[in-house]
Each structure stands twice: as structure tokens, then as C-alpha cells.
């Protein structure tokens, strides 16, 4: 299999609220290296993509993660095709 050649092999990243503002985008399709198998590894890899990512994702205590629209812990596995959302603690209601 050649990675990144089909749409399904990309990972869809969504950023909300202060994370969206700091990173500077709401949504992007990325092709993380094969060594990225968990949420924690994905976040670590994202932080290498630039100072904006490093700043936004610096404090894991205020970064919540949803994979395919379900809250998940940092050891949750991620795979190409997943929709991964990163956002700060929610403040609705």
C-alpha cells in the first residue's frame, strides 16, 4: 500500500476555539508518519509542525480529543481515515 495516494488514507484534523485560533486553521487533511499510532503520538508529531502547533498543544491538560466524534483518551489508537478533533475544555450551556 502506498500511503497518501487515496483520500481515505489521510487523517482529517479539526481544531476548535482557542486551538483553532492558535494553529490558524479549522481543518486540514494530514498524512502522519507510520510511527504515529496513538492520540499522544499524533499530538507530539503535530507539535513538530511549527511554533503555532507547539503553542496550541503545549499543555495536554487543556487539550481534549475526539476521534470520529467520540471523546477518547490519549492512548486511543488513530488510523488513516479517522476524523480527529482537538479542542480546549468545553464551555457551553
Amino acid at each position: 500500500m502506498v500511503r497518501g495516494t487515496t483520500y481515505i488514507s489521510l487523517m482529517k484534523l479539526l481544531y476548535f476555539a482557542s486551538l483553532r485560533q492558535k494553529i490558524g486553521t479549522a481543518e486540514e487533511n494530514l498524512d502522519p508518519p507510520g510511527s504515529v499510532a496513538t492520540v499522544a503520538q499524533l499530538v507530539d508529531w503535530l507539535k513538530t509542525r511549527g511554533a503555532n502547533y507547539a503553542d496550541a498543544l503545549n499543555n495536554p491538560k487543556i487539550v481534549r480529543v475526539a476521534v470520529n466524534r467520540e471523546y477518547v483518551p490519549y492512548d486511543h489508537r488513530v488510523t488513516p481515515g479517522d476524523e480527529v478533533a482537538l479542542f480546549p475544555p468545553v464551555t457551553g450551556g
Binding site: R20, A66, P88, T91
Partner: protein, 150 residues
């Protein structure tokens, strides 16, 4: 029933629709959350509510299902707005109906407590000293934690 919408809602009409034609309901509890004009000593001039379309509905449905599992409810309604709001505007409506008032009260409070810590909404306040994202409150986490099953 849950709804996520930009438009305002009419609490009286929503409550009436929920109970219309039914005579098995003994009590209806509702909660309306409004935009306040002050926060941390600063005057609020506007508020923007961002949300995660798709996940928001899924979370609200899960919260409603959990309430229905815990209490004997005849009807549940959650309406939550997003977009631009002004002080005094309605943000959220939670309505619960039950034959018993304890169930209606407990479920209504559970729904708003869980919604506040689980539904993916984020508030951004415009104040006289600039715009800022509202930070999550410990008191909201504690209120939600009360409902966690041991």
C-alpha cells in the same frame, strides 16, 4: 429531543408543545441559560458560541439517553444555540417532564450539568478590554462529577 440552532427559541412555545394533549405529566421543570452582561468584573458586549457540528448533536443525544435511563421521564427537550449573541439573549433551554417532580428536577439539573462539561461548545466573550475565550470552570466540573456513577 435535541436541537442545535442559530435562531432564538420561545421557551413557552417549546414547553407547551412538549406537554400538549398529555395528561399523564405531573411536573415540568425547565432551565434557561442567558448571556450575562458581566464576567470577572468586565462588561460583556457580545458573545460568540462556536460548536462542533455533528459531534454536538451526538453528545446531546447521549446525554438525553443517559437521563432517560436514570429517571422516568415523559419528555425531554434540549435546545442549544450557537453563533453571535448579546447580553440578555437565551443560550440554552432544557425541559424535562415526568409524573413526579423529583425526577423532573433531578433530570433537568443533570442535563445542564453534563451538557456544560460534555457538549462541544465554546464561548468567546467580547469585553471592553478585548475578546477572550471563556475558560472552563472547576465548579462546572464538580457539578458534573456529582452525577458520575460510583
Amino acid at each position: 429531543m435535541i436541537r442545535v440552532q442559530r435562531e432564538d427559541f420561545d421557551p413557552g412555545a417549546e414547553i407547551a408543545a412538549l406537554t400538549r394533549g398529555r395528561s399523564d405529566i405531573g411536573g415540568v421543570t425547565s432551565f434557561i441559560g442567558l448571556v450575562r452582561d458581566m464576567a470577572g468584573g468586565d462588561k460583556i458586549t457580545a458573545m460568540t458560541l462556536e460548536h462542533y457540528p455533528g459531534m454536538t448533536e451526538k453528545e446531546l443525544e447521549a446525554i438525553e439517553a443517559e437521563a432517560r435511563k436514570r429517571w422516568p421521564l415523559d419528555a425531554v427537550l434540549i435546545v442549544h444555540r450557537y453563533g453571535e449573541l448579546k447580553p440578555g439573549d437565551r443560550i440554552v433551554l432544557v425541559v424535562t417532564a415526568s409524573a413526579h417532580r423529583d425526577a423532573a428536577f433531578d433530570a433537568c439539573r443533570f442535563l445542564i450539568d453534563w451538557l456544560k462539561t460534555k457538549a462541544p461548545f465554546w464561548k468567546r466573550e467580547e469585553t471592553s478590554t478585548g475578546a477572550r475565550w471563556v475558560e472552563a470552570k472547576d465548579s462546572d466540573d464538580q457539578a458534573a462529577a456529582k452525577w458520575e456513577k460510583r
